[in-house]
Subunit: 217 residues, 4 copies
DNA sequence: TATGAATGAGACTTCATTCAT
DNA sequence: GATGAATGAAGTCTCATTCAT
C-alpha cells in the first residue's frame, strides 16, 4: 500500500522521520490543549485526536500523559532561564532589552507560549522538575550577584539572596506576561531591572565605557 | 432547654456553632489537602474524611469541591493585597518592612499559608476570581504610582505600567515564599522595593522628614 | 487487508458487526432487566454486566440509561400501531383476527415482549415520545372512523372521539396482555372490536360481499 | 406552650388529631409530588418539606417512602373499581353514565387525580397490590358477565373472558383520561360500553321495562 | 506499527434513613 | 413527639490505559 520512496528521494529513514513527526505532532497538540484546558482536563484521547493519530498511538510515543507533559516542561525550562547576566561593556539597559526581546521573539516563533507553568506545581513529580530548574536558575543568578557585588558594581547595601529571588520573580513575571500575550515594554523593564542591580553612577560608567575595573565574569 | 448565654460574652448557639465548626473543619481540610496534593488530586471524599465527617456532609456545606475552593480563595484574595502604598513621613523602608512583617505574621497565625494559587489558574471560573483580584490590585498600585510620579517623588524616567506589574510580581513572590515557608528578609525586601520606586535622594529626604512638597495621598 | 465479501450476499464488516452485536446485546439486556426490575431499579452497570461488557462500554453505545430506553421505545412504538383499519371485503372479524395474530407472532419472534410501557410515563422526555406516538395513532384511528361513519358503515349514533380512544384502549390492552404473556383469543377479541364499530347488518353484508356502496378508503 | 382545649371545645384527642392531620398532610404531599415527578424522583425530604414537617417526622408516620405510596394506592384501588354492574331496570346507558359521572366527580373532589398508577407496576411489592386489585376486579366483572350470559341478556356468541378484560381496559382508560384531565363524554362512553355487553334488542327492552325474565343479581 | 473499542477503577453526587438534641 | 444534621451505600459517568486486529 505504501510504495513511496522505492527509489530514494528520502535518504533519511522514512519511518523514523514519520515517527518523529507524530511525536512532534503529539507534543504540539499536548501543548495547545494543556494550554487551553489545563492538564487535568485534557484527555489522552483528545491529544491523539488533535494530532490526528489513534488513541493507542499516543502510548507508543509516550508512556503516559505525564511523560508528554514532562517533555513539554523540559523544553520550556530552558526558556525559563532566558538570560545570562554577563554584562559586556555598553549600555546595560539596552543590552538587556535587546537580549530579552530576541529571546521572547524566538519563543513566540517556536509557539511555546501558553503552556501554563501554573498548573504544574502541585504534582510532586512535576514540581520536582520545575522546582529544580528554578533552583538552578536562582543559584546561578545569586552566584552572579555575588560576583558583581565583589566587584563593587552593585548596590553595596543590598542583601543578595533577597535580590536574587526578586530578580527571579521579575523574570518569571516577564515570561508569564509573554505567555499570556500581554504587552511588555522591554526597554522599561530593563531599566527597572538594572536599577535594582546597579547604582546610577555604575550604569553611567558602563554606558560611557569608563568602568576600568570591570571585566566579564 | 435553652439556658445558654446566661453569663458571658460569647453566646453559644450549639447547632449553628457545630455547623460552623464543621464548615470550618472542611475548609481547613480542603486547604491542607489542596496544598498537599493539589486541587485535582484531592477528592471530596478525602476532604470529608480528613475533616472527620461523612462524604454526604461535605455536600451540605458546599455544593461541590470547587465551591469550597472558591471560599478558600475569597479568603485568600484579601491577603493578596497586603499593603496600601501610603507613605507617611518616616523611613519608607522601615515603614514597609514593618507593615509587611505584621501582615504575614497575621496570615500565618490564621494558618492560611500553603494554599497554592498556582494550581487554580486554568479553571475558567476560578481564574476569573483570582485574575479579577489581581487586576484590581494592579490598578490600585498603578494609580498610586501615577500620584507619586506627579508629585515628583518617583524616578522620573520610569514607565509606570511596567513598574506596576514589576512591583506586583515582587508582592506575589513574597506571598508565595511565605506560603511555602521560605525565609524572607523583610528589611532587605523593602529596601529593594523602595529602590524601585524612589531615587536615593528622595528616600533620604523622606527619612529626614525634609520632604516639603510631600503630603499623604 | 480487505478481502471480505469475496463470496456471499452478506458481507461481514467485522468491526462494525461486533459493534452492532454489542449494541444489540446491550439493548436486549436493557429490555430484559427493565422488564424484570423496572427502569429505575436497573443500573447501567447491571445492564453492562448482563450484556457481558464493561460498564464503560455501555457509555460508548448509549449516552446514558435513558437513551437506551428511548431506543427500545422507538422500536416498540411501531408495534403500538399494529393494524391499519382498512377493511377489504370479506369477513371483518376474521380479517382482523388474522392480521393481529400475524402481527403479534412477529413481535414475539423479535423477542420484543415485556418492555413495560407502564413504567415510562412519568419521565417528561420519555412520555413525550410515547404520548406522541399514541396521539398519532389515535388521530389515524379517528380519521378512519370518520370515513367509515360517512360511508354509513358504522353505528350512526356513535360519538366518534370516544369510540376512538375506546378502540385504542383495547389495542393497548391487547399489546399489554401479549407483553405479559397472557393468553389472547384473537378471534373473540376481533368479534368484540368489530361489534364496537359495525352494526350487525353491516357485518353480515361485508361477510356476504353484498355491500354495494363500499369501496376501500 | 399549647394550652388549647383546657375547657373542652375539642372533645376528641388533640394529639391524635394533630397526628392525623400530619399524616394526612404527608399523604397529600406524597400524592401531589409522586404525581408531578414520579415515585422514584420524589424524595422523602421533599414530601416532608411540602407537608411542612421535618424530615424525621416523615418516619414517625410511615416506616418508609414505599409505605406512604402503598397507603396511597390502597385508597386509590377502590377507585379503580368504580361501578358494580348491577343493572336495575331502566335505560342502561343512562344508568351507567350517571353512575360514572358521579363517581369521577367524587374522585376529583377528593383530589385523588393524578396519582399515576403507571409508575407503580414494576415494583414487585407494589405490583402485587395493584395487580391483585385488578385481578379481583376482573374476576368480579367476569362473574357478572357469566350471570348476564346465562340470563340471555348478553350477546350469545361472545367469549366472556375476552369481553371481561376488554371492559376492564375501557374502565382503566376512562380512569386514566380522568386522571390526566382529558375530557370524557360519559354518555357516549356508556353507549359503547353497553353495546359491547348487550344486543340492541335487549337494550331496547331494558329501556322499555319489558324485560320480564330479568332480576338483579 | 497503527488502530480504536474495550476495560474497570474511581470520582462525583444523591438520598433513604438514623439519631442526638 | 419533633427536628434537621449527619451518615454512607449506591448510582452515574469519565478516562487512562490495554489489547486484539
Amino acid at each position: 500500500m505504501a510504495h513511496e520512496n522505492l527509489i530514494g528521494d528520502f535518504p533519511t529513514f522514512p519511518k523514523q522521520q514519520r515517527s518523529m513527526q507524530k511525536r512532534q505532532a503529539l507534543l504540539k497538540s499536548g501543548r495547545i490543549l494543556f494550554g487551553e484546558k489545563g492538564y487535568e482536563h485534557t484527555t489522552a484521547k483528545e491529544i491523539a485526536a488533535h494530532a490526528k493519530v489513534a488513541t493507542g498511538t499516543f502510548y507508543r510515543y509516550f508512556s503516559d500523559k505525564r511523560q508528554l507533559l514532562m517533555s513539554l516542561i523540559e523544553d520550556h525550562i530552558d526558556d525559563m532561564m532566558p538570560i545570562d547576566l554577563e554584562w559586556k561593556s555598553g549600555d546595560p539597559e539596552k543590552l538587556l532589552a535587546g537580549r530579552l526581546e530576541m529571546h521572547y521573539h524566538k519563543i513566540n516563533e517556536k509557539n511555546l507560549r501558553r503552556l501554563m507553568p501554573e498548573i504544574l506545581f502541585r504534582d510532586a513529580e512535576l514540581a520536582e522538575v520545575v522546582q529544580e530548574a528554578k533552583t538552578r536558575m536562582l543559584e546561578k543568578v545569586t552566584e552572579h550577584l555575588h560576583l558583581l557585588h565583589r566587584k563593587g558594581l552593585m548596590w553595596q547595601d543590598i542583601e543578595i539572596e533577597t535580590l536574587g529571588w526578586s530578580l527571579q520573580s521579575l523574570m518569571e513575571k516577564l515570561q508569564s506576561r509573554n505567555d499570556q500575550g500581554l504587552p511588555v515594554d522591554y526597554q522599561a523593564f530593563s531599566k527597572i531591572f538594572c536599577r535594582m542591580l546597579f547604582p546610577p553612577e555604575v550604569i553611567q560608567k558602563m554606558r560611557n565605557g569608563t568602568l576600568n575595573e570591570w571585566k566579564g565574569p
